[in-house]
C-alpha cells in the first residue's frame, strides 16, 4: 500500500548520523561523469570516435603531461595569465573609477553614465577588427579587449551599489556629523562593496571569455595560440588540454573572489547563517 510506504521514512530513527550518508551521496555524484569518461575512452579505442574529431581521455592526459614537461603549457599559461591580469587591472580600475565619479555626484553621473550605457550596448567582440587597425596584432589589442570587457560589469555593479546604499544610514551619518569624506569611506564604499564583488565575479568571467576570443583571432603566443596551432595539425588532444586549462584558470580566479567575499563580507555571515 502506497500510504504505508510513504509513512515508512518517518519511522526511521532520526538520530542516524548524517556525515557518512552525505559522503556516500557526494561519491554518487562522481558516478555519471566517470561513466561518461569510460564510454568516451571506449568509443575512442574502438574507433567509433575518430581522433581527428576528439582525442581519447587517456591521450589527452598524456599530452597534458608532455606539454607540461616540454614547457609549452606553462609558458602559454604564463602569457595568457599576464594578459588577463593586466587587462583586468586596467579595466577594473577604469570601471571602478568611473563608477565612483558617476555614483558620488549628479554631475559625474550626467557626464559618465550616458556614455557608459551607450558603449555597453556595443558588442565588444565586434570591436576586434577596429582594435587590430588601431593597435596592430601585438599585446595591446588583447589586453585592451579584456580591459574593456571587465570595465562594464564593474562599472554597472559598483554604480548601482553606490546608489543602493541605505538612505537611512546616510541620515545616521548626518546626525553623527560625518564629513563627506567620512560618509564615503565609512558608509558609501563599504555599502557598495557586496554589489562590487558581484561585479568582480562577472568581470572575471568575461575577462577569460574576452581573452579566449582575442587569442583565437591573432596570437603567436599564449593558450589561444596553442589551441589554434593545434587545429592546423588536427591535434584535438592539445585543443582539449587548452580548453581544460582555460576552465581550470576560470574556476581558480572565481575561487579567489569567493574567498575575498568571505573575508570582506564577514559582517553578513551571522545574518545569512
Amino acid at each position: 500500500m502506497s500510504v504505508v510506504e510513504l509513512a515508512r521514512p518517518v519511522e526511521k530513527p532520526r538520530a542516524t548520523p548524517k556525515g557518512p550518508r552525505r559522503r556516500v551521496t557526494a561519491w554518487h555524484r562522481w558516478l555519471s561523469p566517470l561513466a561518461l569518461l569510460v564510454v568516451w575512452q571506449i568509443a575512442s579505442a574502438t574507433g567509433l570516435l575518430p581522433e581527428r574529431l576528439l582525442a581519447a581521455p587517456a591521450a589527452i592526459a598524456s599530452t597534458a603531461v608532455e606539454l607540461t614537461q616540454a614547457g609549452t603549457l606553462p609558458t602559454a599559461i604564463g602569457v595568457s595569465l599576464q594578459r588577463v591580469l593586466i587587462g583586468f587591472l586596467v579595466g577594473g580600475a577604469a570601471g571602478i573609477v568611473l563608477a565612483l565619479a558617476a555614483g558620488l555626484s549628479r554631475a559625474g553621473e550626467n557626464a559618465v553614465d550616458p556614455i557608459m550605457q551607450a558603449l555597453r550596448a556595443l558588442p565588444f567582440f565586434g570591436l576586434i577588427p577596429l582594435f587590430i587597425l588601431w593597435f596592430g596584432i601585438g599585446e595591446e589589442p588583447k589586453i585592451l579587449l579584456v580591459a574593456l570587457a571587465v570595465s562594464f560589469p564593474l562599472y554597472l555593479n559598483t554604480f548601482s551599489g553606490i546608489r543602493g546604499v541605505d538612505g537611512k544610514l546616510a541620515e545616521v551619518a548626518t546626525t553623527l556629523k560625518l564629513s563627506r569624506g567620512q560618509l564615503i569611506r565609512h558608509i558609501v564604499l563599504p555599502g557598495a562593496l557586496p554589489q562590487t564583488l558581484v561585479g568582480l565575479r562577472q568581470a572575471l568571467g568575461v575577462a577569460w571569455l574576452a581573452l579566449i576570443v582575442a587569442e583565437q583571432v591573432n596570437a603567436t603566443t599564449g593558450l589561444g595560440y596553442m589551441i589554434n596551432d593545434a587545429r592546423e595539425f588536427l591535434r584535438t588532444d592539445v585543443i582539449v588540454v587548452g580548453l581544460l586549462v582555460y576552465s581550470a584558470l576560470g574556476l581558480a580566479t572565481d575561487a579567489i573572489v569567493r574567498l575575498l567575499e568571505r573575508r570582506a563580507l564577514a559582517w553578513r555571515r551571522g545574518f545569512l547563517a
Binding site: E171, T175, L193, G270
Partner: protein, 231 residues
C-alpha cells in the same frame, strides 16, 4: 542652550503636517511628544535633527544634538565598538565606557546583525550618548521591542538621562511610556502643540499612581481615544 522653534511649517504636497508651530525645549528637561499616527511627530523630530532641508520657520537648536531612531540603524559592516566611535572625536576609552553603561562591554566586537533587538537599541543609545549631546532626540526607539525588554530600556534611559542630563525629546505614541518617563508631555495635533502638560510625580513612577491615571484619561481624550471604549 534651550531649543526654540517658532513658526515652523512643513507640508508634503497639499498635506500640511506642521503648521506654524512654536515650541521651547528647556535644558535638561525630559519631554515626550505624543500624537496620533501621521500627526507629524517624526517630522518635527527630523526637523530638529537637521534631516529635513525643506522645513520652514525658525529653528534655534544647539549643535550638540544626537538621535536614536526607531530602528537602531547601526552600520552593519562595522563592529559594535566601531559603530560607537564613528565620527567621534573623543578617545576610544569613552566609547568603551558608553558600551559599559548600556551593558554591552562584552559585545564590543560583535557584528550588529548578530545583536538582539534590545541590544541593538541599547547600542544605538550608547552611540547617541557618547557624544554628550545637549539635546537627545528619541524617535520611538522602544516601539519595536518586546514588553519585557522595553521595561528594562525605560529604566536604562532614565538612568542615563539622570547621569548626563541632556534635554530629551521622546517621540512616542504610547501614553503610558510618556507618563512613566517625561517631565512634560506635549500633544501634537493639526500641526501644532495642542497640549502641554507638566508631570511632577516622583520617579520611579507606577502606572497605578492616581495622578497619572487622571493624566492618562486627559491625554487619551486629547488623542481622541476614550479609555472606556467608544463614547
Amino acid at each position: 542652550m534651550a531649543t526654540r522653534l517658532s513658526g515652523v511649517a512643513r507640508a508634503f504636497g497639499d498635506r500640511v503636517v506642521l503648521d506654524s508651530l512654536d515650541l521651547e525645549l528647556r535644558d535638561g528637561e525630559f519631554t515626550a511628544l505624543l500624537g496620533r499616527s501621521g500627526s507629524g511627530k517624526s517630522t518635527l523630530l527630523r526637523a530638529l535633527a537637521g534631516l529635513d532641508p525643506e522645513v520652514t520657520g525658525t529653528i534655534d537648536v544647539t549643535d550638540s544634538v544626537a538621535v536614536a531612531f526607531q530602528e537602531p540603524r547601526l552600520v552593519p559592516w562595522k563592529r559594535l565598538l566601531a559603530n560607537i566611535t564613528l565620527g567621534l572625536d573623543a578617545p576610544v576609552s569613552k566609547a568603551k565606557e558608553a558600551l559599559a553603561e548600556v551593558g554591552l562591554s562584552e559585545r564590543s566586537d560583535a557584528w550588529p546583525l548578530t545583536l538582539s533587538g534590545g541590544e541593538a537599541q541599547r547600542a544605538s543609545l550608547a552611540r547617541a550618548l557618547v557624544r554628550e549631546p545637549e539635546l537627545l532626540l528619541l524617535d520611538e526607539p522602544f516601539s519595536a521591542l518586546d514588553a519585557l525588554t522595553r521595561i528594562t530600556i525605560h529604566q536604562l534611559v532614565l538612568e542615563l538621562w539622570a547621569r548626563h542630563r541632556p534635554a530629551v525629546l521622546l517621540v512616542t505614541h504610547d501614553v503610558d511610556e510618556a507618563l512613566l518617563l517625561a517631565d512634560r508631555v506635549l500633544v501634537l495635533d493639526e500641526g501644532r502643540i495642542a497640549h502641554d502638560i507638566s508631570i511632577t510625580a516622583d520617579r520611579p513612577r507606577h502606572r497605578e499612581d492616581p495622578g497619572l491615571v487622571t493624566l492618562r484619561t486627559t491625554l487619551l481624550a486629547a488623542l481622541g481615544v476614550s479609555p472606556e471604549g467608544r463614547s
